[in-house]
């Protein structure tokens, strides 16, 4: 697809979203801090642990009622074991437990990532599937694709004590109780590389879903991520 065609598709998708904003659509706004620790093991194995929590600061409908009240929503704790299978690729599998309003959700994750190193940027393609189970809800099955890019803001690569720009774009297909939904995520982030094993990022995680059934829900989460490599 040429760049012009790609921009046209993006324009159509976003026009659709903006139409939905003026129609009946709801939004959430809050904080999404996370700590991600990656342990390097022998024989190209690694272990990744992530702790992430969601805090709601504001919710409501566009052109409608707004509720400004702090609400703690949930906490996710995940552990993923990964094995490097090629120079630039890795397969991983793991488990996530979600604590949400006294309820527990269990998620099993499988993923495959390929990293591309270009002259001025790095691109990571991630294809993943997950299955979520809980006593309260029907099982949910998801198929996700994410492209993440990193551009150094000084020089050709991100060195210690340098800022970088990161942009994630993810498409999540979800099947639950014979229903299907598509969620799209756009996440621009400003990162700072404290040293090669410590990075801090801040940005906005925008998510839109339920637009296929005209009940569009927009979520805006302020991301604060801390990545540690051990």
């Amino acid at each position: 697809m040429s760049i012009n065609k790609f921009h046209l598709v993006l324009f159509i998708v976003f026009s659709q979203f903006s139409n939905n904003i003026s129609a009946q659509s709801s939004y959430l706004f809050g904080l999404l801090p996370s700590i991600n620790v990656n342990y390097k093991l022998e024989n190209d194995w690694s272990l990744n642990t992530k702790l992430e929590s969601r805090h709601l600061l504001r919710s409501g409908e566009f052109n409608g009622i707004i509720e400004r009240k702090y609400n703690y929503i949930l906490t996710d704790l995940s552990m993923i074991a990964a094995k490097k299978v090629g120079l630039n690729s890795r397969v991983a599998s793991g488990y996530l437990i979600r604590f949400e309003e006294e309820k527990l959700f269990h998620r099993f994750i499988q993923q495959y990532t390929v990293l591309q190193r270009l002259t001025n940027l790095r691109l990571a393609h991630r294809l993943s599937t997950d299955q979520t189970f809980s006593p309260m809800e029907k099982p949910e099955f998801r198929l996700r694709y994410r492209i993440a890019s990193e551009v150094a803001l000084d020089g050709q690569s991100v060195d210690p004590r340098e800022f970088y720009f990161k942009f994630n774009n993810e498409y999540l297909n979800s099947w639950q109780d014979y229903g299907y939904d598509l969620e799209i995520r756009l996440v621009p982030l400003l990162g700072y590389n404290l040293k090669s094993t410590n990075k801090i990022e801040m940005g906005l995680d925008y998510r839109v879903n339920s637009f296929l059934n005209n009940n569009t829900r927009h979520s805006f989460w302020v991301n604060l991520n801390w990545f540690i490599e051990l």
């Binding site: 991600n36 992530k50 990532t113 790095r122 990193e150 000084d154 020089g155 060195d159 991520n225 490599e229």
Partner: protein, 194 residues
């Protein structure tokens, strides 16, 4: 309860790692350099090449050394010229196609790679010239064979050996003898993968 666990964890981890963050690590940094900060010797050398394309300047800093690098494209080939901080030229590197290397020389390299790797794939080939400023300028301007220049070949390749695949930088002299083979260590990418 969960909130308290998160806060406690955050302080525990931050407490443990803040010392490491502030401590020194192997310090290597490459950053863009504005043309006004480039030493005049280096600028004059680049000016004498009468380039049509834009030149990008970089400062490379290590604990013990600093250097200045000019990167540009000329006749479709990527060039990289390294200077010391006084603008004295150190070397010239030109990216080339693997297939453009002449055959007997290529065979010597392949023989070495077959000894070291079960399977290999050439990613990048560069020719490196070192010598005095006049010889290097003559080489860049005329592309004829110039005496007083040391020629080396830098090959970046994927090498599959034993159980893993790694990226290596091989350096050969112009007789096809191996000078050095260094594994390339990648920067962590967990922030792009998770």
């Amino acid at each position: 309860m969960v909130k308290y666990v998160i806060v406690t964890l955050f302080f525990l981890i931050f407490g443990n790692f803040s010392n490491y963050i502030l401590a020194q690590e192997k310090y290597e940094r490459e950053s863009r350099l504005k043309q006004k900060y480039v030493p005049s010797n280096a600028l004059n050398f680049i000016d004498s090449l009468s380039l049509k394309n834009k030149v990008k300047w970089y400062l490379e800093e290590g604990f013990e050394s600093k250097s200045i690098e000019a990167k540009f494209k000329r006749n479709g080939e990527k060039h990289s010229i390294e200077f010391d901080i006084h603008g004295i030229i150190q070397d010239v590197e030109i990216e080339m196609k693997w297939n453009d290397l002449y055959m007997p020389f290529k065979n010597l390299i392949i023989k070495q790679l077959k000894e070291d790797c079960i399977k290999h794939k050439i990613v990048k080939t560069q020719i490196q010239y070192t010598g005095n400023q006049t010889a290097l300028l003559l080489k860049l301007l005329s592309d004829v064979s110039v005496k007083d220049l040391t020629v080396k070949y830098e090959i970046i390749l994927k090498c599959h050996c034993d159980k893993n695949t790694q990226l290596f930088e091989y350096l050969f002299n112009d007789n096809g003898q191996l000078i050095m083979a260094t594994p390339i260590i990648f920067k962590p990418s967990n922030h792009l993968e998770y």
